[in-house]
C-alpha cells in the first residue's frame, strides 16, 4: 500500500485516498459540437500507460481535495504530486 503525499495534508496511507484515473483529460467545453467518435474518445478511451502516468487522486478520508499524482504504473513508485490546475512536473 502506497504512502501518498497529499499536497494539502502531507503523507498519508493509501487507504485514505481514492484513485480517479488518468489526469488532464479535459471535459470538452462544447460537447454538442463533437462527433460521436470524439465524444467516445473523451468518455471512454484511455492511454492506460505502463510506466509514468499522470493521474488523479482524491483524499476521500481527509481533506476531500482532488490533486494529481505522477506514478510509475509498472512498479507503483510515486514520483511527484501536484495540485489541480498546476502544471505537471517535467523530468
Amino acid at each position: 500500500m502506497f504512502i501518498i503525499n497529499c499536497p494539502y495534508c502531507g503523507e498519508r496511507e493509501q487507504s485514505e485516498f481514492k484513485a480517479g484515473g488518468e489526469a488532464h483529460i479535459v471535459r470538452p467545453k462544447q460537447p454538442t459540437e463533437l462527433s460521436d467518435d470524439q465524444w467516445a474518445e473523451y468518455l471512454f478511451m484511455r492511454k492506460n500507460i505502463k510506466g509514468i502516468q499522470f493521474e488523479r487522486w482524491v483524499h476521500t478520508h481527509g481533506c476531500r481535495k482532488w490533486f494529481n499524482v505522477v506514478r510509475d504504473t509498472s512498479n507503483d513508485v510515486i514520483e511527484a504530486v501536484y495540485k489541480m490546475g498546476e502544471k505537471p512536473p517535467t523530468k
Partner: protein, 1001 residues
Amino acid sequence: MTKNLRVKTTKLIDETYKISFKFNGTTYYGYKGDTLASALLANDIHLVGRSFKYHRPRGIMTAGSEEPNAIVQLHNNTSLTEPNVRATEIEIYEGLEASSQNCWPSVNFDIGGINNFLSPVLPAGFYYKTFMWPASFWEKYEYFIRKSAGLGKSPTKPDPDIYEHRYIHCDVLVVGAGISGIMAAKTAAKNGFKTLLVDEKSYLGGSTIYQNSENFKINNQTSNSWLEKEINEIKKFENLEIKIRTSVAAFHGYNFLLARENLTDHLPVEQRKNKTRHRLLKIRAKKVIMATGSLERPLIFDNNDRPGILLSSAIEKYANLFGVMCGEKNVLFTNNDSAYETAISLFKKGINIEAIIDNREEIDSKLIQETEKNNIKIYKGYTVVNTAGYKRINKISIMQLSKDGQKVLGSKISISCDCLGISGGWTPAVHLFTQSGGKLKFRDEDQVFIPDKYPSDQISIGSCNGDFTLNEILSNVPNSLRKFLNIKKTDYENLEVHSSFNKSKRNIWLLPSDKVIGKTKPFVDYQNDATAKDIKLALREGFRSIEHVKRYTTTGMGTDQGKLGNMHALGIISETAGSKMGELGTTTFRPPYTPLTFGTIVGRNVGEYFDIFRKTPMHDWHVQNKAEFENVGQWKRAWYYPQNGESMHDAVQRESKAARDSAGILDASTLGKIDIQGTDASEFLNRVYTNAWSKLSIGKCRYGLMLNEDGMVYDDGVTTRLGENHYIMTTTTGGAATVLGKLEDYLQTEWPELDVYLTSVTDHYATVSVCGPNSKKIVSQVIPDLDFSDENFPHMSFKNAKIGKIKCRVMRISFTGEHSYEINVQANYGKSVWEKCMEAGKEFNITPYGTETMHLLRAEKGFIIVGQDTDATMTPIDLQMDWIVSKKKYDFIGKRSLYRSDTIREDRKQLVGLLTENPDDVLEEGAQIVGDMNKSPVEMLGHVTSSYYSPNLRKSIALGVVKGGKNMMGQKLIIPMESKQINVTVADPVFLDKENKRLNA
C-alpha cells in the same frame, strides 16, 4: 514404555515444569520450553504424518518454520481445532492434543500408503493424462481425488478466539533477532531511532544463542555468552520495542510490513479466555533491516524422506537448545563444515555418532580435525545412495563419488543408524526481501542467491545476505549498519573473532545413484512428494520455465512453500537444461512467509463490527414498535411494522391504505442531504441536473434528475432553494456518498472557477415525513406557529419554522402523491418530533409505514426508484421523463451522450406500467417480459422492475421496462414464469390520481 531421550537441561527447557500432552490419543510428557517436535523426539517419536500424494510415512525434519513434514491437527473436533500446524513451531502446553493428518485409519497403518506402490504410474502431471474416459466420469474420479487430497481438516465450528490489529510506525524495523539482528537493533536504538525488533521464535538470539563452543569466540568469550550480554543490554532501551513469537508475514511496497504476534497459542487453553490470540501488526517503517538468517539445505538422494532423517542443524538444535537427542545411532551426511559443528556438539553431550559421510574428498579444517580426534569415522568423497526403514530409518547405503560428482563408484557400504542428519549448505532467507520487490543475484562460489537491488530503504545483513560465518558477520554487519543508519560508529568495531568454520562446499544438486533415476525417489518437495525425476520428466515434456516446472510437478506449492527444496529444483532444472542458475531466475516468493490465520488478518472486523450499520435518530422507536428492517446501503431502515402477528403483505396493505385514507408517517432521515452554498450555486445545479435551476425562487423545491456522463440516470431527489446562494440537495439513501464525491470531482477538477461549497449534512438532520389527507392537520398541531394554508405554503415549497425552541425546516414535497410534509430537525431532536407527530396524529389514526409501503405508494403514482426501476442503461428519455430534460440548456452532465446513435433509438427499453389480466396476479419483480412465445429463441423485451398489489386501486400494478414500450400502450404481453404464463397489458405508469389532485387534498 517409551524411551527418554533427554540429554541435559538447557536454559530454554524448564525441567521443573512438566507438561502432559496427547499425540494420537496417547499421553506423553515434555517440559516447559519444548515444542511439540522436541517433546515427541524426546519420547522417541519420529513418525508424525503421511505425505500428500504417496502417503509415505514422514517425520520431523527441521526445528523451525520451514518444516514440510511434521504437520498435525490440533484439538480435533473442537472449536479450537486447527489443521496443518507445524510440530516444530507449536510450543507445548498442558492439555495440548495433536493428531496425525492425511492418514486413515492411523498414521501407523494408512490405507493411502497403497499410492506408494502405484507411484510408477503416478508421475508428475499424471492426472492431466488420464481420468478422461468416459467423459461423464470425471466428477466421480474427482470425488476420490479430492477425498485423498487435502491435509488436515477444516474447523467446523466458529472460532472462539479474538484477534486484533495494531498499527506501528517506527524509524527502524529489524526482522530477526539472531546475532545480526541483535547488533542492528542495539545500534539503531543507541543512535536514537525508534526501533522495533521482531523474531518468530519464543527466545532471542537465533542459532548463536546455543553456540556454546570453543570454536566460535568473540572477544575471548563463547559466542553465546557474548550474545547473551548484548541481549541483556538491548532490553534496557526505551526506544526499542522487542516482540518475540512475532513472524513477519509480508513485506509490501513503501516499507509496509505485516507481522503476526502470537500471544496465547503457547498458553494452556483455560488461560486464554478473553485474551487476544494473535495481533496483526501493520508496520510502516522508515527503514527496514532484514536479519532473517538462512535455512539449511537438505541433500537430494534416493529415499531421503524417511522418518529419522533431519537437517543436521536441527539435530544440533534439538540437542543444544532442547536437550533432546534425535537418535542413538546418528549418522551425518554433508557437503560442508556445518555437520561437523553438529558432530562436535553431539559428541560433547555424549550422543553417539556412527559416521559422517562427506561429499568432499579433500577437506581439512579445525572442525574436521576435532571431529577426527574424537574418533568419529568420516567417509570422505562418499555419498548416500539409499536408505532403508519404512517408519523409521534403520540403514543407509553409501558409495564413493566420482571426481566430477556425476557418478558413484565402487561397492556399496551399509551403515545402520536410527537418525540421519543431512547438511547441504545454507540458503539465505530472502523471501521477504523478494516480496518487497528486491532483485537477487546468484553467487557462484557457494551457489546462493543474495540480495542485489533494494527497492526501498532497507538492507539485508548477516546470513540472509550471504554472510554465513561469524567472522563475516562481525566484520560486515557493523559496516552495513554505519552506512545504512548514517552513523559514525557502532559498538562492534575491532572485535576479536575466532571462528573455525571453513567455507568449502561441494554442491551437487541431485546426488548420483547406482540406479537409473526412474527407479529412485529423491524427494525435492517433501510435502507434495515431488521428486527429482518428476522435475526431469517435466523438462522432458517441454516445460522449460521454472514456473511451469513448479506448477506441473507442484514443487514448492506445499504449506512450507518449498523453503527447503526450491533451490534444488532450480539447480536440477539448470543442470538438466544446461542453463545457468543466475539466468534461470527464481519462482516468485508469495506472501505470506508463513501461513497466516484468516482470523488474524480480519482482526476485530467480524460479527457486528464487520460493517457497521447506520441507524437513524428514530431507530429505537422503530425497534420498540416491532418494525422489521430492510438494509439499504449502510442503513437500517424500517421496512414495515407488523401488528399482532400480521404477515408482511397484510401490514403493507394496511399501512398503504391508511396513508391514503388518513395519515401516514415515514422516517426519511436516511436520504442523503448535501448543503450547497456559493454565488454560483444555481449555475452549478444547472450543470449537474438535467433541468434548469436559475429561475427557482427562494423557498421553492424542485425535483432533479442527475445523469452520468454516459447519459444514464445516476441519482434523483428534491433540491430546495434556501436562499439566494444556498440550496439543500437530497439524494437517494444509497447514493449519498457517491453523489457528493462526483459533485466534488466536477467542482474541483472541471469547474474550479465556480464559487460553490458542498457539505454533507445527512447525519445532521432527522427527517419526519407525514403524508395523507390529514397530514396538514397533524403538522399544524406540531408546529402551531406556521401558516400551513395552501396560499402561504403550497406544494413544492419550504418554510423555516420552530417547534418550541427547536428550529426546523419544513418542505411540502411528496413521494407518495399525497398531500405531504417533511420536517427536518437537528438529528438529536428527531425522535421527539417523531413522537410529537404520532401524538398529534393519534386522532387521525396516523400510521407509521416503512420502505415497502413507500415503494408501493410511489409505484401507484409511477414514480421511479433509481436502482430499482433503472439500471445503468436507462436514460431519462427511456423513463418517459423527457419533461425533465432541458432542451434550452447548453450543457449538463451526460447531455451529449443522449444524442449518440444508440441512445436516440426509438426502440430502446422504456419504462411503462403493466396491468395483469387477472387483477389478483402480482408479478414477480425481475420477471422477464415477452411479446411472442412462439419465436425461437424467445425474444425478451424487458423485465418487471416494481410490482405490488395496490390496496387503494384493488388490483395488481407493476412497472417494467419494455423495448419500444412507449408506443405499445394497451398492447398485450406475456410474463413467462416457470410454471405458467401471465398475460399483461401495457399501461400508463401513473396508476392513481393522474391529475395530482391529492397533492392539495
